[in-house]
């Protein structure tokens, strides 16, 4: 008769990517059950919107998911713009999409490094951070910030891009595919990596849909659902891109989808840069952000963030403060699904599987 052992993985643990607690019941090294406990990073980002004006809340939204700040500001700002019926100039939209795709790139690069670190290899972390650095510097040059950008405003963006800045991006997009090849050379065909990822943490199509998983994890399970393609929001329907889809649904498929998505990001970035170089125009719709008049109404934006569907619901009651702001983030649903996906695996696989989902804990708790 064996006894099971309960072990707390987290809240303080080197590889829970933030502060997640997994109450795990182990039989030897096999997982009997996993119960995720969240809430350690709750900052009240939704409630605090109600006591701030629309503009005052703007710097906070970058912090919903600190690795993809542009997506959060985009979601919030578009919601407000749609309630106010503000038309955003096309150049501003292109700059926004360019920033978002660069941000997706940084987010995926960070995921790549930390995920391989979770599997016990230390070097790729430094490679991915090395290649993330030029993008961070570019963000700093454009917005003055490396992470919490606060760059988008109601009706457009704060500063126009310069030609030199665009040239630097082009240089980066030219160099990056070779580096991605290097990553793949050292990781993708590594037998240890394959034994640890193939057929591990299989997320079937049905389970993924049942738990409303979105983003790369869903596309790795064989569902071709990308909200950039589905809704074509912003100027995405003018761009030429095809989101990568894998059918296996295991950790390796998720890895491959994200690597392919990085390549796709580079192509989208190049298209945006081409447009911005050849076209000029306004970058803002001249809206008085400070005294923004928001009529009564509500709007929900759909944004494909690096971690899946990002919804921002804004309800206005006609005053200068939002009545309600609600965030729907991809990570929350991924954490919810953990008990299902980890069942039947061993202790080693917890981090290999959890890491492959690319969960950002601040985004779960908000």
């Amino acid at each position: 008769m064996t006894e099971t052992m309960k072990i707390n993985i987290g809240p303080q643990h080197p590889s829970t990517h933030g502060v997640l607690r997994l109450v795990t019941e182990l039989d030897g090294e096999d997982i009997v059950s996993v119960t995720p406990v969240i809430g350690y990073l709750h900052r009240g980002l939704e409630k605090s919107a109600e006591s701030r004006t629309y503009l005052q809340y703007l710097p906070m939204v970058d912090r919903v998911d600190y690795l993809s700040g542009f997506f959060n500001s985009y979601a919030y700002i578009t919601a407000v713009e749609n309630i106010c019926n503000i038309d955003v100039p096309k150049r501003a939209e292109y700059i926004r999409v360019l920033c978002m795709e660069m941000n997706r790139m940084t987010s995926h690069l960070l995921w790549f490094g930390t995920y391989i670190l979770d599997l016990g290899a230390t070097s790729p972390l430094f490679y991915s951070f090395r290649d993330r650095e030029p993008l961070m510097s570019l963000f700093e040059e454009l917005t003055g910030q490396r992470m919490m950008y606060n760059y988008f405003t109601f009706g457009g963006v704060r500063f126009d891009v310069t030609k030199e800045w665009l040239d630097k991006i082009l240089k980066y997009t030219d160099e990056m595919p070779a580096k991605l090849d290097d990553y793949e050379k050292i990781i993708t065909s590594n037998p240890i990596f394959l034994t640890r990822t193939k057929n591990k943490g299989i997320l079937s199509k049905n389970t993924a849909l049942k738990y409303s998983i979105t983003g790369p994890c869903l596309r790795a399970s064989g569902v071709n659902l990308d909200f950039r393609k589905k809704f074509g929001y912003s100027i995405y329907n003018e761009l030429d891109f095809e989101p990568p889809v894998e059918t296996d649904g295991d950790t390796f498929a998720r890895y491959k989808v994200r690597i392919a998505e990085m390549r796709m990001c580079l192509s989208v970035i190049r298209q945006c840069v081409d447009y911005l170089k050849n076209n000029s125009g306004e970058i803002s719709a001249k809206v008085n952000s400070v005294a923004l008049k928001v009529p009564e109404g509500e709007y929900t934006t759909y944004v494909e963030s690096p971690r899946g569907l990002l919804n921002c619901y804004v309800k206005s009651d006609g005053t200068n403060k939002p009545y309600r702001v609600k965030w729907r983030t991809g990570s929350f649903y991924l954490v919810q699904m953990l008990p299902e996906i980890l069942k039947g695996h061993s202790m080693h696989d917890i981090m290999a599987i959890f890491g492959s989902l690319d969960v950002i804990l601040p985004e779960v708790d908000r």
Partner: protein, 360 residues
């Protein structure tokens, strides 16, 4: 060693102290030499590894303390010595304190078994190679006890993983060692080296054995990709999660001391140990064969040859660490039982055939 012993007895004799006293107290000398060597080598190894990893990952590594960072590890060691030893609630006090010593002492004994030069052998037993593998398996007892005594579930799992690992990787090592012993017709490390003077280095007939030994040694050292007992991303730090200060330093010292001694052992049985390339000593070429202190110089040159070979192997081990992700326990077992173990038996059979042909 005999020369040193002779000097010591002579020295005591001058003051009329009986020889029996000298016999009893003499082991203090090799002990002190090994202890000093371990600390120096480990301080260097840690720095070496950090710089190597920094090169692989395009960083600078430690470069502030002392000249270009050479004193960094010394500073770290002093910091560890000054730190408080924390006794967590609920630990088994005796075992908790004994475990680091149990890990470190066998490794120190291993250092004494390696022939550093033809004269510089601290403990020369007729079965020293077998004794080496026997003692090399002992530190894991310390790891299991550390895991058990820490009153921590992560530690416990780390300790148990260490035990499972050592069982799977001891057997291939024994078979490889058997084939080397068959080639040399001896299980004495010095004789194994002497056998490599007349023939080739044993890495040539026994290359598969060298690869098996290399992989298994990494597993025995609990280093990446076999660092499951202390898997940072899963078990936080495994068996040493509750240790601090001097006790942690002992684990750390043991880890790097065993890295060096395992590589020295591999260099001894496969790369000719202290033998120079081509059996020509550089000091003989420089000073001529009639030089007065030639024999003494050769002893020291032999030590340097062994160090060079050892550090090449250490570098390879670090290269592996920088490249590979960690195995999972199933993969670890499969690799050992389904691949390394059968291969080591095949290798053994092959070596026996070679040996038979050589004799005939």
């Amino acid at each position: 060693m005999n020369y040193l012993y002779f000097l010591y007895i002579q020295f005591l004799d001058k003051y009329g102290i009986p020889e029996i006293f000298g016999d009893i107290t003499f082991p203090i000398f090799p002990f002190c030499i090994i202890a000093a060597a371990i600390i120096l080598v480990v301080l260097f190894l840690v720095l070496f590894e950090r710089r190597i990893l920094a090169v692989f990952t395009q960083r600078k590594g430690p470069n502030r303390v002392g000249f270009n960072g050479v004193l960094q590890t010394t500073a770290d060691a002093i910091k560890l010595l000054c730190k408080q030893n924390i006794n967590p609630v609920g630990v088994d006090r005796f075992l908790f304190n004994a475990a680091p010593i149990l890990v470190f002492v066998p490794i120190m004994v291993l250092w004494g078994l390696i022939p550093y030069s033809s004269e510089f052998v601290f403990m020369n037993f007729s079965t020293s190679a077998i004794l080496y593998t026997a003692i090399a398996a002992l530190p894991v007892i310390g790891l299991i006890l550390a895991g058990y005594a820490s009153n921590n579930k992560y530690s416990l799992m780390g300790g148990i993983r260490a035990a499972a690992q050592i069982i799977s990787y001891e057997l291939p090592i024994m078979f490889v060692l058997l084939s080397v012993a068959a080639l040399a017709s001896s299980v004495n490390l010095k004789d194994i080296i002497s056998a490599q003077i007349s023939s080739v280095w044993f890495i040539v007939p026994c290359f598969a054995g060298f690869i098996i030994m290399f992989i298994c040694s990494i597993a025995e050292m609990n280093r990446c990709p076999f660092d499951l007992p202390e898997a940072e991303s899963e078990l936080v730090a495994g068996y040493n999660v509750e240790y601090s200060g001097m006790r942690f330093a002992l684990f750390f010292l043991g880890e790097y001391a065993s890295l060096f001694v395992m590589c020295a052992f591999m260099a001894t049985i496969f790369l000719g140990g202290y033998l120079p390339i081509g059996n020509k000593y550089i000091s003989e070429l420089i000073f001529g064969s009639n030089f007065q202190f030639l024999q003494l110089l050769i002893y020291f040159e032999q030590v340097i040859w062994l160090l060079v070979k050892t550090f090449i192997l250490v570098y390879l081990v670090m290269l592996v660490r920088a490249t590979l992700p960690r195995l999972n326990s199933q993969g670890l077992m499969l690799l050992s039982w389904k691949f390394l173990f059968p291969l080591s038996i095949v290798n053994f059979a092959l070596i026996m055939v070679i040996k038979y042909l050589m004799v005939v």
